[in-house]
Symmetry: none
DNA sequence: GTGGTCTAGACCACT
DNA sequence: GTGGTCTAGACCACC
């Protein structure tokens, strides 16, 4: 993964994991990589990897079982919140861009419909 | 500006300038900063700044007047292409994200309308 | 300060600071020691001191101003919660001890009254 | 058991045993563990375990029967003193804490009654 | 000066 | 093997 320089690495890793959760790559209750493996995958220090899980646990995104590992949360509320937060960010950014490019609401909607049919 | 590490800086600068052109910050025929100033603004090497304009000129995004400077293109076709290319990228990325999060076409359109009314 | 071995240092430091907050030694909005000073006072690593403030901020017990320092929270709700939590812990522990020693409710109350008059 | 670093271990062990005596876990005339077993239980040096009983015997808390072992005292006066000393310490500490947190005598009494009803 | 982050390497407790 | 903590020392951005 390639990190930007203006944002803490641990936050960028968290964002990436959140994306994998929402895309379905990581599912409810699934075991996450060990901190050491996470460190290898993202090429970061094990301590930083540890912080990733610590902060995520703090947000309720995962939970840990001593001695066995870290797991994706099973709390539905958290999943809902994650999904809506992520969607809001994506939406805001998108509408700002389209608006800045001069597209009206109707034009944008039309393009969306067109694009969706391609997927 | 913050650069990623996985993409040539000059391309990231060009993307940024394209954005400023589409947002209206940079207008038709407007004078662009000198390569030296560009280097200062983006905190990049003057050679890199030079390459930025060379590549942009190659794409038709700007033109150089010997002795006076570099100016934003006045070619309408280029502007149209820029606008549609940029929109397509933005659209693709957006629809993929929303789709990955499990939003249907109708849900997305509804959210777009809602968001547009906030802007 | 003397640390127990069965509890993370940073939590023991937090407990100590909470006590100082409730005893009035640390007041609303007051500047806390810099992380480096905190490290010296408690003879811990600056990183551990940093973690103390990070966790405390997370609990809403303090807030940081970039470049200037860390300050005791001004949120009344947090203060109320801190006070009630601390009181509950103290109470539980006390009543369990007295009960274990065989003192009845009335005997304990009588002893409390007697002790309060000495203070 | 977890020891603090600022107080001799043998004193901390004695405090712990006193607590077990008052809580009824250790009763009048009951046989105490051998010094070897005591050392194992508390994970301390056998010499330290030996000192524990020596000091306790000096306080009259236990007595030794050559060849058979060490036993909890049967002296009622000692038990009374132990009970009142322990209670006094507990009381002092408790009232100081509550007072420091700003609770009045009446508030404290009210909370005690409330807590006792939970036990 | 302040806090924030990152790396490196160590030790611990739990399973 | 797992995560959790701690120390050491470094660099950064902000004020």
């Amino acid at each position: 993964m390639n990190f930007k320089t203006d944002r803490p690495i641990y936050l960028q890793v968290i964002d990436d994991i959140k994306g994998r959760m929402l895309s379905g790559e990581l599912k409810v209750g699934q075991k996450l990589p060990s901190t050491r493996d996470l460190a290898k995958v993202y090429q970061i220090n094990p301590n930083t990897a540890s912080r990733v899980y610590r902060e995520m646990e703090h947000e309720g995104l995962c939970f840990t079982q001593r001695g066995t590992g870290t797991y994706v949360t099973e709390d539905e509320q958290i999943w809902k919140k994650l999904r809506s937060d992520m969607a809001e960010d994506t939406l805001k950014d998108f509408c700002q861009r389209m608006s800045a490019m001069g597209f009206t609401e109707e034009e944008t909607v039309e393009l969306i419909r067109h694009q969706y049919r391609k997927i």
